[in-house]
Subunit: 351 residues, 2 copies
């Protein structure tokens, strides 16, 4: 770009604006897609380090927390009403004065939900080195969700070959990967999901040994007993609530519960109670919560391990992709009713 301002393109910059703090289930109308903003496609001299063109947005359950007013227990900032949402995504560098990123580079990390961004905080950004896989994979299997599954399963659940593993929300971005990592590790793996289609996916696409539709089970305890007559060694917890209590009743002695998320609880004013904690003593269970950002050091190992698995077809990965930033609000809220099948991705632009 030249020095003459008349040469600089000014373009529309569609944004997904966060309207106000949310109680209960989020609705698409809690966000607004506006075409009002424009942006000069030039890096201003205001401290911005990168001008990006945003390509893929990742819809993740943790964004629900950012839609609530922050509390003492929040580990991440709330969204600012009137400003765009932000979350993990993939983008291309249009201009950069950051030494690690040059024009044309691709990266993943936290970006605003808008077509173009001026970025000052680059600490979450990771340069994409391998482009022989779909770029959108960096919103999932090669991004935050992938690292969550990889680190959570290996570091927190500490699997042993032959362990029996249960994964809830098993067809989701994280669950489908945990199940496959567990299979690759030599475990017996069962998953739960919320529709017949998802259950079929678990059994036929992701290679789970068994799976069930939790919405069609009258008694979760009985379903787990059927799938794990000798009990569960590892539970990868994504949902919370009644499922957790049913799992506690079916854990083996010295079982491990890696607590990744509790999506069934995120939209409730008062969480669903747990009645089964006494079993933690009787069964000497270890239950441990984790957040992926404390495991970033494992990312190079993930790439080294998982890229070949993808290339050799030894791991399957299913995305639920919607086209167009204007569909991002619907895609995000759909997560909380289980509308998505696989990893929910929004395409802003393909390149």
């Amino acid at each position: 770009m030249g020095d003459t301002s008349s040469e600089v393109l000014v373009v529309r910059n569609k944004q997904v604006i966060f309207k106000n703090y949310v109680n209960g289930y989020p609705k698409a109308s809690d966000m607004e897609v506006t075409s009002d903003a424009t942006i000069r496609l030039e890096l201003p001299k205001d401290g911005s380090l990168i001008l990006s063109k945003n390509l893929y947005l990742s819809c993740d359950p943790f964004l629900r927390g950012r839609m609530s007013k922050a509390t003492e227990a929040s580990y991440i900032e709330s969204f600012t009403p009137g400003s765009p949402l932000s979350g993990f995504g993939v983008a291309r560098v249009l201009e950069s004065i950051h030494p690690d990123f040059k024009k044309g580079d691709l990266f993943w990390g936290i970006i605003n939900w808008e077509e173009y961004s001026l970025i000052t905080d680059t600490q979450t950004l990771v340069k994409i080195q391998h482009t022989d896989v779909p770029l959108s994979y960096y919103t999932g299997i090669l991004g935050m969700a992938g690292l969550t599954a990889y680190a959570g399963f290996h570091e927190i659940c500490k699997p042993k070959k032959g362990d029996t593993v249960f994964v809830s929300a098993a067809s989701g971005a994280v669950g489908q990967l945990v199940g496959q990592y567990a299979k690759l590790y030599g475990c017996y793996v069962v998953g739960s999901a919320g529709s017949k289609e998802k259950v079929d996916l678990l059994k036929n696409k992701f290679g789970f040994d068994d799976a069930f539709n939790y919405k069609e089970e009258e008694d979760l305890n009985a379903a787990l007993k059927r799938c794990f007559p000798d009990g569960i060694d590892i539970y990868f917890e994504n949902v919370g609530g009644k499922m957790l209590d049913a799992v506690l009743s079916n854990m083996k002695v010295h079982g491990r519960i890696g607590v990744c998320g509790m999506i069934s609880q995120y939209n409730r004013d008062i969480p669903e109670p747990s009645y089964a904690l006494g079993l933690i003593i009787l069964k000497r269970i270890r239950m441990e919560g984790f957040l992926v950002f404390e495991h970033n050091h494992l990312y190079p190992k993930l790439l080294e391990t998982v890229l070949p698995l993808i290339q050799q077809g030894k791991i399957n990965y299913v995305e639920d992709t919607v086209e167009g930033i204007e569909n991002a609000p619907d895609a995000l809220v759909g997560l909380f009713t289980g509308k998505n099948i696989g990893k929910q991705v929004v395409v802003i632009a393909h390149e």
Copy 2:
């Protein structure tokens, strides 16, 4: 003793008989102290290995579990209606054909609640080598409760110098020791108990940095915030229920909860619900249950460490002692209403 049966003493053998399975709080009338039985003070040739004179009985919360009908989740057998209770205690060998125990030896381990016993199962019995401390200590600080505190604090809670530590039921057999081990480790220690007298004991006898009477706090959350303005690193869980939820709200990031017991829940048909499990994720908390019998290998280390602490007066230990096996039922049920101050011991005989 000679071969002639006329020389063998036959004595009364008072027993505490378990009457029937208990629901809710146990009552002294759930047991019966009988003087009907007699015993020949001679080892019969029926497979019995040791004839013991029983000296001290230990009243422990875990015995409540043995008063309920066994369920799938039980880790220990229920008592048999019509037979004596059994539990940890100290006894003296009157006769033995077991190679490790000879006449006159003292031991601790699981014994029947009766004056004399014929013992066939010796696997829990530990010979007492050091008798320069009160023998009753082997029901507590140098016995099961002591090992529970020692192993639970060091192995499960994994303390670091300077950690803030909260102990519930802190004046009990285990709690008083956990608090003191934590102080010796260089931690900041606060305890909760159920009376002013117990709170005074925590502060003045056991050296806790602070303590509160949970029965006089309207808001447990506020009490913990007052005692731990910067949060709790380690919670040694003895009570469960509302206290656990209040603690979860006050844990620091990467806090550890060693789950030893939940005495507030043992007499409830339906456990009190927990609503705060989501915090396990946000705060990356590790919560781990344990049972002392899996840590028996630490007992020699406990003796090596704790005997000198006792001898040098660096650790205090308070027992609540009742004389006479006929008072054992009252002593045991008193545990569940917090009647005891310190470790509850029943003296059958002093030697």
